[in-house]
Symmetry: C2
Subunit: 275 residues, 2 copies
Amino acid sequence: MIIDGRKLAEEIERETNDKLEKINQKKVAFVMFQNTPAIEQFVQMKMKVGTRFGIDCSILKFEGEINNKNAIKFLEKILQVGPKGFYDGVVVQLPLPKNLSLDLILNKIPASLDIDVLGKEAIKNYLQAGPVNFVPPIANAIDEILKFTKIDLLNKQVLIIGNGRLVGQVASFYFSKNKIPFDMVTEKTEENIYKEKLKNADVIISGVGQPHFIKKEMIKEGVIIIDAGTSEQSGKLVGDVDPSCEEIASFITPVPGGVGPLAVISLFKNLILNN
Amino acid sequence: MIIDGRKLAEEIERETNDKLEKINQKKVAFVMFQNTPAIEQFVQMKMKVGTRFGIDCSILKFEGEINNKNAIKFLEKILQVGPKGFYDGVVVQLPLPKNLSLDLILNKIPASLDIDVLGKEAIKNYLQAGPVNFVPPIANAIDEILKFTKIDLLNKQVLIIGNGRLVGQVASFYFSKNKIPFDMVTEKTEENIYKEKLKNADVIISGVGQPHFIKKEMIKEGVIIIDAGTSEQSGKLVGDVDPSCEEIASFITPVPGGVGPLAVISLFKNLILNN
């Protein structure tokens, strides 16, 4: 039998191209369980950035009666698409409708697809440097901002405000992982202690979602404030930090246009730089 | 100071895109120290395959007085192009003009760029599974062909004909690395022994470059012949194996259209699948 080297070579070329394509043509699904103008705007922003990176982004909107069972079913169907149509990243757009369980939904996403690093498996990987090394976008945003300020965190008071899954917890993971001491206050913290810690902090990460509640008289001169809180006020997106704080803070991140765009980029960095 | 998250994000997007581009936009230099119709044809074939993979292929032709010193200088200049224009692979097209030292030239190419795996550093990496894991194209071609035949090499006589740097030695590296016993005959082998070994071989890898010198009466019924010899006969590319062998071999690779196209693909596989 004469072995046709050209034909064999063609097959190998095809296989190699498939692998190459897998590296290049990343696919991301943005899963929406509800549709408000703000959510729509967030998703569109992510779509825009992803598309600029050449990533194939799809929005998958849930339709029908919304409850945990149906939402999980919908998500499972998305995760099972395959083998060619497999997504490389699956992002559940938050906030979820009130009757859905955030934990139940987010923990459903396998670590390898969880570029938003909100499911427990992905978080575990992040904290323990597991096989998939995605960085939570908020953690990466904090990291970029702190690097920009060039602050030396040694002997500085770092304070996280709020213990929410999206900001406070992620910020605490970030500082834990980087072995940087930090403190945290939440709505359960006694008012006097809360105020004192706020006043003494050199670095504040806020993720509360209460419009402009941090006023300049509550903080220390020269503080760095990373505002990762978002809420809506008269139809506009506002942060936790009152703009007046700008007068005495050394660095401050605005909302919008601060943590947000950095978190979006970080989402795609996870996808692009981890093959 | 208000930190402009959008501007920071833009910078990160640019950096990320640069990294992405580095992954995608591979550049290969084909270095030609002489120009015969056959060499030109080989290079064009490689260019065609490389371009199909989306690789940026350039031919760099030496001009001027050809001697080792000038050739090395030319090669060094190519290896130093940078930082943006750095090549991801550098291939010296063979054969070299007679007055150049093959060793001197090939060993100049650092392992990380030596996708043809002909320099000593790249060969060492291959044999010892070093940091850069390129497979010599001829080794990969042999591997693909043997896999295609589905032969079980246990207790089979494997014979390499010729000890040249381009085929015989590479074939011996392949079998050594894969812990497959093999024998080798060269022009220095005594004629009787040479003939006997050829007659008893179950698998023959030939890399001599002597037109059609292996005749059917010299080989065993059912033998697998991988013909990696190339020479020119009346302006045509011919192999070591006489076409009459086809009648009694179980598998045989033609020249052209056998080992050649597989080796070309393997060259680019090294580039594409190793980032």
